[in-house]
């Protein structure tokens, strides 16, 4: 019998319809919210905030799967705590519009919103007013861009926040890369609506990474920063592929909350189509699942009005070879998958079949 937590994908239906259940993730978030103690410097009345967060978690409110809740999901509660707790309080006030009361900014802080946010000077502020300013902020794209890592309150490694542009050319390069990202999001919103709906069910914010190589791109996501993906911005097609790749990981993270997909006692390492170094089997499953969706993305791109179609076809062929490679590795080592892992593998195989025709 298939685990309900893995969600369902009817044979022949769109791969974008598969969304693993988020119920267990929200249950854990609710427990963490119930224990949340905001930094004392903020002078907050914690009880109504905690009540709002717990109630929203029980309703599985979409706005909680967001980097603004890093205070609840990060294991590191020391570094950046004041800014992170400040952001969580403002974000909660923005989305649960019933909160009143004051919040103290012990120093100059930042209230992040979808179009970047605003500086908040040191002093006492009205929580509802700050929340309204964040809620009413308009951003025309389906995913926000957080260049300065303010949604998570700490500069990430290799981000522009960690090493800001130091020359006019550097600044131009950053602006150029952001324009590419916005153009890619615009194209996807207009031409790949199902893919974008699947992306935005998990990915809310992109942190652009500095490119350290002209030939390689990088991307990452973390269980501790829900809804946030890190990507280097090379060109529009690569950007959409990377968004698909990292969103797939965010979906897999949901699926594994109920229990491991790979036997935790398995210490073997295996070849992965996406990395040169041998990986644990979970790494291969992550790659397989991401590649399955990358193939689906290129299938939809080829069928759309987007260009260049020849590149989509070529990328699809390359991704198909890799996904079959990963499938072979997983088939040969399926004994190391748990029951949930085997079901996840089978569902992913159905996603792969979308690109077979």
């Amino acid at each position: 019998m298939q685990s309900a937590a893995l969600g369902d994908l009817m044979l022949g239906s769109s791969p974008w319809a598969w969304r693993p259940s988020r119920t267990s993730w929200f249950e854990i978030l609710s427990q963490r919210a119930a224990q949340w103690q905001p930094a004392p410097e903020l002078g907050l009345d914690a009880a109504p905030l905690v009540e709002c967060l717990v109630a929203a978690a029980k309703k599985e409110a979409d706005w909680l799967h967001h980097p603004s809740v890093t205070s609840l999901t990060s294991d590191n509660r020391e570094e950046g705590r004041v800014q992170q707790d400040f952001q969580l309080a403002i974000w909660t006030a923005a989305n649960a519009r019933v909160l009143t009361g004051k919040i103290v900014a012990p120093e100059q802080l930042w209230a992040w919103s979808r179009s970047g946010g605003f500086q908040v000077r040191a002093g006492v502020h009205d929580l509802r007013s700050l929340g309204s300013a964040v809620a009413e902020d308009e951003w025309p794209w389906p995913i926000a861009v957080d260049v300065w890592c303010r949604s998570i309150g700490l500069p990430s490694e290799q981000s522009w926040a960690e090493t800001p542009p130091s020359t006019p050319d550097d600044e131009k390069r950053l602006q150029y890369e952001i324009r590419m990202l916005l153009r890619a999001l615009t194209a996807a919103k207009r031409n790949l609506p199902e893919c974008v709906a699947w992306m935005t069910s998990m990915t809310q914010v992109v942190v652009p990474l500095r490119r350290v190589s002209e030939t390689h791109t990088q991307s990452a996501s973390s269980r501790q920063h829900p809804g946030l993906v890190y990507i280097t911005l090379k060109d529009e097609v690569q950007i959409l592929e990377a968004l698909t790749h990292e969103t797939a990981h965010q979906h897999l993270f949901m699926a594994e909350v109920d229990g491991p997909l790979v036997d935790p006692t398995d210490s073997g390492t295996y070849s992965s189509p996406l990395r040169e170094d041998a990986r644990p089997l979970l790494g291969v499953l992550l790659a397989y699942h991401a590649l399955a969706y990358i193939c689906a993305f290129y299938v939809d791109a080829v069928r759309s009005d987007l260009n260049p179609r020849s590149r989509f076809s070529e990328e699809l062929r390359a991704a198909r070879l890799k996904v079959l490679d990963a499938e072979g590795t997983l088939e040969s080592n399926s004994r190391a998958l748990t029951e949930s892992g085997r079901q996840f593998f089978e569902l992913t195989r159905q996603v792969v079949s979308y690109s077979e025709h």
Partner: protein, 96 residues
């Protein structure tokens, strides 16, 4: 009879005019494709794309690179992309 010849002559002129317009449009499209739509014309090889990206990262090229891939980016779009990119990068030190 003369009226018919005049009609044919007028049609010839119109046909010539249309042919010129089509040729000009084709020429313009090809030229645009070779300058700012390089990605679309490039073979789908990573090495080639890398090369093009390197060129695009030259600041002198960036100004003309706004049409990019995917066939998205009319005048209004590009103004919006530019405005938001400037806004986001300008937020490093100052508030809104």
């Amino acid at each position: 009879m003369q009226g018919r010849e005049e009609q044919l002559s007028a049609l010839d002129k119109e046909a010539e005019h249309l042919r010129t317009r089509v040729e000009d449009a084709l020429k313009e499209t090809l030229e645009r494709g070779l300058t700012s739509g390089v990605f679309a014309a490039a073979p789908p090889r990573h090495s080639r794309v890398d090369h093009v990206v390197t060129e695009f990262l030259d600041p002198r090229m960036m100004e003309s690179a706004d049409e990019g891939l995917l066939g998205v980016g009319d005048v209004d779009d590009n103004a919006k992309f530019r405005a938001f990119a400037e806004r986001l990068t300008g937020m490093r030190d100052s508030g809104v």
